[in-house]
């Protein structure tokens, strides 16, 4: 074998073949990694019980019939659009099964300020579901509204 060819073969094994073996190792090791639960997609919210709404501010939220929540997820963070009274895309975060977001409402009166969404995901349900509360900030008389949400169209998985 010529010297140049020998050098080429050694360089090829070192720079191409070995790294490819490393790649296989990384892919294998990565299978045990846990990514945040997927919440991307459109969710339908139902208040529990449906007729109950506490105080003026709660009434305004519930009067937005068929609340639909659109979530665009990027790992632990997401942006959320809530149809009806709340329509601005807002950031939120997900930690394990806990979902949190701060929403700004269209009504900006002192009593009916922003809304905090806190929910817990059920990772085993199919389609995916979450349950939690929508609570008004700056409104002492408003009780948090309990809701249950189900993801409408499960996102196509990339397995």
């Amino acid at each position: 074998m010529q010297r140049a060819t020998k050098k080429f073969v050694v360089a090829y094994i070192t720079l191409v073949a070995f790294p490819l073996l490393g790649l296989l190792g990384v892919v294998r090791a990565g299978r045990s990694l846990q990514a945040p639960l997927s919440i991307d997609g459109t969710w339908k919210l139902q208040f529990e019980p449906p007729s109950r709404a506490s105080g003026k501010c709660g009434d305004q939220l519930v009067s937005s019939n068929n609340l639909v929540m659109s979530i665009s997820q990027s790992g632990q963070n997401f942006t959320m659009n809530l149809s009806g009274a709340l329509s601005t895309a807002v950031p939120g975060s997900i930690t394990a099964t806990d979902v949190k977001a701060q929403l700004q409402t269209g009504d900006t009166t002192v009593h009916c300020g922003g809304v905090t969404l806190t929910a817990s995901l059920d990772p085993t349900s199919n389609p995916r579901a979450m349950a939690g509360f929508l609570s008004r900030q700056g409104c002492d008389s408003c009780e948090p509204l309990r809701f249950h949400a189900v993801r409408e169209l499960p996102q196509k998985a990339a397995h």
């Binding site: 990694l33 790992g75 990339a158 397995h159």
Partner: protein, 434 residues
């Protein structure tokens, strides 16, 4: 029905913005395509949507985006056909060890580094609907791609197409693109098969059959176009229409088989006859409308999906910087080290790495597919677009510093004297690439 006024207004503003930015970027010695990519970003939520949200909502209402998307996809289908057409598998054989090693290392180095990076980013920027394998392989494919057309444009503008650096770069980039698209095809196939009704072995059998038909049946039939061109010095409108028709059928086949439209178009281009004048003739016929009308729409559509606001806080910008660093070290560093090992002088080797690090439009095409099949999240998509812009933008100034013209030509003459022959001529003379 589309609102025609809105659609035409959108296209007018997109074309004007791309043209203006393209000209401005030319003035700072950047390929026009870099300016057009920037124009797309500026028209999206990252600038226009941020500065003038009401005007942005008026100009790009969500209901109109479907039509814009369809137009942009047709543009990219034709563009991928042209990319495949430019690729000549015979080129690599002429350049020996340098091109083989440089091209393979310029794929494996960024690919492996990207999978290591994926190990870190997956828990932070992905979710459990995407498997780590798909995520890691996609990151690898996205980071190892080279913008073949932009690279050819840079070489042409510098008159380096016939230098040793130019020929090795073109041959390596061609191998990179073919390999990158094969890997991407595999990922798309896995992803779609998981959500589809056909078992994966059916999908694979279909794709293999399609590729064999393209290689052993369609390729022979396509020689008829070259014969007609040789005979008449041109192709009739019917012949051009037939070529388009076959390209569209190939695209539909790959889409139907569970891949993506673009793979069929790319393969059709790759199996076209490679006679130099014929290739130039077909490129001339298709390129003008694709480059001046359809690709700017693609840039704008990509820009509309790129939202810099999603990269929030120092932590996210840190990830973005890491992506740029890994992409650059893997591609530029890997190619340069490989070229240096095959006796290319250090500065020329860095020049080769710089050229290979140009991702440009090809990266955007791959990222768009990744976002469509949801293998990457919107924030990661934005970070990768930023990486594509930075790595493409840095090519020209870096080449000015490390590879002055004189040095490149001296290297070429030295190499010619050493082998007693001229550097092989390439097929890209006078090419007006995007």
């Amino acid at each position: 029905m589309p609102n025609l006024f809105t659609l035409v207004l959108q296209v007018t503003i997109i074309l004007a913005s791309c043209r203006i930015l393209g000209v401005l970027f030319k003035k700072i010695h950047q390929p026009r395509v870099v300016g057009e990519m920037f124009a797309g970003i500026l028209l999206g939520p990252s600038l226009l949507g941020w500065l003038a949200p009401h005007f942005s909502a008026y100009l790009f209402p969500p209901s109109s985006l479907g039509f814009l998307s369809a137009l942009s996809q047709i543009g990219v289908v034709v563009f991928m056909f042209l990319v495949g057409l430019r690729i000549n598998p015979g080129e690599l054989k002429k350049h020996g060890h340098s091109a083989v090693l440089a091209s393979h290392v310029s794929i494996t180095a960024p690919f492996v580094l990207a999978t290591f990076l994926a190990f870190f980013l997956y828990p932070k920027l992905s979710d459990d609907s995407v498997s780590f394998t798909s995520f890691a392989l996609f990151m690898g494919a996205a980071m190892s791609v080279t913008a073949f057309p932009v690279l050819a444009r840079i070489l042409q503008e510098r008159d380096w197409l016939h230098t040793r650096l130019g020929t090795v770069a073109i041959a390596s980039a061609a191998v990179d693109d073919v390999t990158g698209w094969c890997i991407l095809a595999y990922i798309v196939m896995l992803t779609r098969a998981a959500g589809g009704s056909s078992p994966i072995y059916v999908v694979i059998s279909g794709i293999v059959t399609f590729v064999l038909i393209m290689l052993f049946v369609v390729q022979r039939l396509l020689l008829g176009f070259e014969r007609a061109y040789r005979k008449n010095g041109e192709l009739s409108e019917n012949a051009m229409a037939l070529m388009l028709l076959i390209m569209m059928c190939a695209s539909l086949c790959t889409e139907w088989l569970g891949l993506h439209l673009l793979f069929g178009a790319f393969l059709m281009g790759a199996v076209m006859p490679k006679e130099r004048h014929f290739v130039r003739y077909v490129l001339d016929r298709f390129e003008t409308i694709t480059v001046t009308l359809l690709l700017p729409i693609f840039f704008a559509f990509t820009g509309l999906r790129t939202n810099i606001a999603l990269v929030r806080g120092p932590e996210m910008w840190g990830y973005c910087a890491l992506i740029v660093l890994v992409a650059t070290v893997g591609k530029l560093g890997g190619s340069a080290v490989a070229a240096r090992l095959t006796t290319m002088p250090t500065r020329e080797a860095i020049g080769l790495g710089t050229l290979m690090n140009t991702r440009g439009l090809m990266e955007l095409v791959i990222l768009d597919i990744g976002l469509d099949i949801k293998v990457i999240s919107p924030a990661l998509f934005t970070m990768m677009v930023v990486m594509a812009l930075i790595t493409t933008f840095m090519a020209s100034p870096l080449l000015d510093v490390v590879c002055p013209d004189q040095l490149v030509w001296q290297g070429t003459e030295k190499a010619q004297r050493a082998v007693g022959a001229s550097v092989p001529q390439l097929e890209f003379e006078n090419g007006s690439v995007a």
